[in-house]
């Protein structure tokens, strides 16, 4: 079950696997989107974009196009 963060379902617990290498990588990493971190999609803005995620212990709003840069896998931590 490897996919990008924009495709995951609401309230499903995923884990960040890696980041796509581009202009956004640094900013996403700085915001705590680093491999091994738990990521959960919480809700979206009207129209489905941007999306709010729980990253570690805080809420981060990302555009769909930004969430595409985050590769995730289903969490095994549970």
């Amino acid at each position: 079950m490897n996919t990008t963060a924009n495709h995951i379902g609401i309230n499903e617990i995923y884990e960040i696997r890696s980041l796509k290498e581009n202009d956004l990588t640094l900013k996403l990493a700085e915001m705590g989107c680093v491999p091994g971190t738990e990521i959960v999609k919480l809700y979206t803005a009207p129209g489905g974009d941007p999306i709010a995620f729980r990253i570690d212990s805080y809420i981060l709003g990302l555009r769909k196009s930004e969430a595409e840069n985050i590769f995730v896998k289903l969490s095994e931590l549970e």
């Binding site: 700085e30 915001m31 705590g32 009207p46 129209g47 974009d49 709003g61 990302l62």
Partner: protein, 655 residues
């Protein structure tokens, strides 16, 4: 004096702590030659008084937004001296991301200490942090503070006393030179790898200092957000909040504004009594005092709007407003973050243009700055009021709409719609190499901290006073000179004519003198000079004078009209002007000169035209050249002219 900088992530409670520690000693200072502003305040310690510097919250030193770059330039000593020490503010409930910044700043080798905030919320979330272990790992003193309760300010003050140079958490070669080079705009490779490595090193610390962290409970915030971001409720809530905002400003501001006007009226009467009648009394009263009162009268409105916006920001709602509007904003070349400056534009464009510094993408920031002046600011409101009450009876309805409310709302929406159209045009014209970015933290909801909100609203007012105040007062003095002096012959004739008229009509001679004098003055000549240009819009030379005087501040229009129509100032000004204006007949059409077409044409003109010199000066400062302000002056002026012309021509058929 020792200078200590507060460094921390956004939403970590830094500003609240700063307010609590410095109290009333705060001041904002502009660095010479820039609009870069930092807030400082003094704290008395046992070892002497220190200066505390509050800097914008940042996540990383590799910052790109203008407000974030201020932090980097301060820490590197690029603009002014480096701070002598640093106090980190760390949000205990989000320790990993907060430590990233600490690990970067630690490499600058500045003596530091650390304040851990929100310990009580962290506990509620079952996160327990071993303070001694954290001190050990960072190599700096750590204090625990709950910024929302007064009890622990003592421990915060302790951490202001003692700083040490901390341990390097994650070592990276040549950190400072690389940061400097990044600040100067050079691309740095390998920064994301470096960040990942930092997080790996931070994880080792977290394992040692976080005793327990079980559930991450942000349930209430998420529950509220389900409504606030809902496709239907979310939009309804957004509009209700905006309506409440404006309703609040209108209801709350009118009292203090009346009070200020009455107070200045009293001062003017005192001057009349104590100063010998003549040019100098005139100058003090009409040149200087009118300017000052014209500035101060806006403070309540600006303060109240920024206070209410501050409450929405501090509680966490404004970020949600950015979140839900981003999709639409993006389509027209703006960003969700543009919503805050745009709403602020309804109070005053000047601090709002400065507030665009949080937008990272240069083009999105520029577009936001360019359209903010199209929001109907508080200075336009008195003009709208006068014109609407002049031309439209309070009881009249157009179809189902209450006519006065309809025109007022249309004036606001006309500005908004033009802003949207222009944003789109700018988006199409400009070429954008930089990627647009949203990436925005949605902080936990909290009850707004009134003290913080008040002090921030006051900072905005001070920005208005210092940026616009000076300009308005100077222009007000120039206008006084223009309207007091004129060609000798004309002034003499005006005087004679006034004397004659007084004899015939046996009315208040001072008023007649003033009106005759104004007509004969340089301002009057200027008004007549531009009359041919504004005649197609339905304006006469009197309106011309008022238009020119609006360059000080738009609301000066009301004052000028009142002089032109000989209404005593202490009377109900608007009512007085209205009665006189309604009696005037247009010699060309035989209809009332100041009817509905005139009023609406002028409202459109004021809604669109960039008449505020202070706003132009701020755009110049922020963009670095006069190109944009001058271009906007002509573009918006042109649109205003065409719009006003069309409105006048079309409406003349119906009224």
């Amino acid at each position: 004096m020792k200078r200590i900088a507060l460094i921390g992530n956004p939403n970590c409670g830094k500003s609240t702590l700063f307010n609590r520690l410095t109290g009333l000693s705060q001041k904002t200072s502009n660095l010479p030659g820039t609009t870069v502003e930092s807030t400082t305040g003094q704290v008395k310690l046992k070892s002497g008084t220190v200066e505390l510097i509050d800097l914008p919250g940042i996540y990383s030193l590799f910052a790109q937004a203008e407000d974030e770059r201020l932090v980097v330039s301060t820490l590197l000593g690029i603009e002014g001296p480096k701070p002598d020490a640093i106090v980190f503010i760390i949000d205990g409930s989000n320790i990993r991301r907060n430590l990233l910044l600490v690990s970067q700043v630690a490499e600058l080798r500045i003596p530091s200490s650390c304040i851990l905030t929100m310990a009580d919320t962290a506990k509620r979330r079952s996160i327990d942090i071993d303070i001694k272990a954290l001190e050990n790992e960072l190599g700096i003193p750590v204090a625990v503070v709950n910024p929302r309760s007064d009890k622990n300010t003592q421990s915060a003050i302790l951490s202001l006393e003692n700083q040490t140079i901390g341990k390097i958490i994650s070592h990276n070669e040549n950190f400072e030179p690389r940061l400097r080079s990044f600040y100067e705009g050079n691309k740095e490779r390998g920064l994301s790898e470096e960040t990942l490595k930092r997080y790996t090193d931070i994880e080792k610390i977290v394992k040692k200092v976080v005793i327990s962290s079980q559930t991450r409970n942000r349930n209430n915030t998420i529950k509220i957000d389900k409504y606030v971001t809902h496709p239907i409720f979310g939009v309804v809530i957004f509009f209700l909040v905006m309506m409440a905002l404006f309703q609040g400003v209108f209801t709350l501001a009118s009292g203090p504004m009346d009070l200020i006007e009455t107070a200045f009226g009293c001062v003017k009467m005192q001057i009349d009594e104590f100063l010998p009648n003549g040019m100098w009394a005139d100058f003090v009263r009409d040149g200087i005092l009118s300017g000052i009162s014209g500035v101060i009268v806006f403070v309540p409105q600006i303060f109240i709007l920024f206070f209410l916006i501050g409450i929405l920001e501090d509680s966490g709602y404004m970020v949600r407003a950015s979140f839900i509007t981003d999709r639409i904003m993006r389509k027209i070349g703006l960003n969700g973050r543009s919503i805050i400056p745009l709403v602020g534009g309804f109070a005053c464009a000047i601090p709002s243009i400065m507030a665009t510094r949080t937008i990272k993408n240069k083009r999105e920031r520029l577009i936001t700055m360019l359209v903010v002046p199209l929001m109907s600011c508080s200075a336009r409101l008195p003009v709208y009021f006068l014109l609407i009450s002049l031309a439209i009876p309070a009881s009249s309805f157009w179809g189902p709409f209450h006519a006065q409310t309809f025109v007022m709302t249309s004036a606001y929406f006309a500005g908004i719609i033009l802003a949207l159209i222009f944003a789109m045009i700018y988006k199409i014209i400009g070429n954008d190499k930089e990627k647009s970015e949203f990436i925005l933290e949605l902080p936990t909801y909290q009850s707004p901290r009134i003290q913080t909100v008040i002090s921030q609203a006051w900072i905005k007012c001070r920005t208005f006073l210092s940026e616009a105040g000076k300009v308005i007062i100077v222009i007000s003095m120039i206008l006084w000179a223009l309207s007091s002096f004129g060609p000798k012959e004309a002034m003499k004739n005006a005087h004679l004519k006034a004397v004659e008229m007084t004899k015939i009509n046996k009315v208040d001679s001072a008023q007649i003198h003033n009106t005759q004098k104004l007509e004969a003055s340089y301002a009057g000549h200027l008004g007549k000079f531009i009359e041919p240009a504004i005649k197609p819009l339905g304006y006469d030379w009197k309106t011309g004078i008022a238009l020119i005087s609006s360059f000080a501040a738009r609301e000066v229009f009301v004052g000028t009209m009142s002089t032109l129509f000989q209404t005593p100032e202490d009377d109900d000004q608007v009512k007085g002007i209205r009665t006189k204006m309604q009696a005037e007949i247009n010699p060309d059409t035989g209809k009332p000169l100041y009817g509905v077409p005139y009023a609406i044409s002028l409202i459109f003109f004021y809604a669109f035209a960039l008449q505020c010199i202070s706003t132009m000066a701020v755009i110049k400062k922020e963009t670095g050249s006069w190109t944009w302000p001058v271009a906007l002056f002509f573009i918006y002026g042109g649109i205003a002219y065409i719009g006003a012309f069309a409105a006048f021509r079309i409406l003349s058929h119906y009224f």
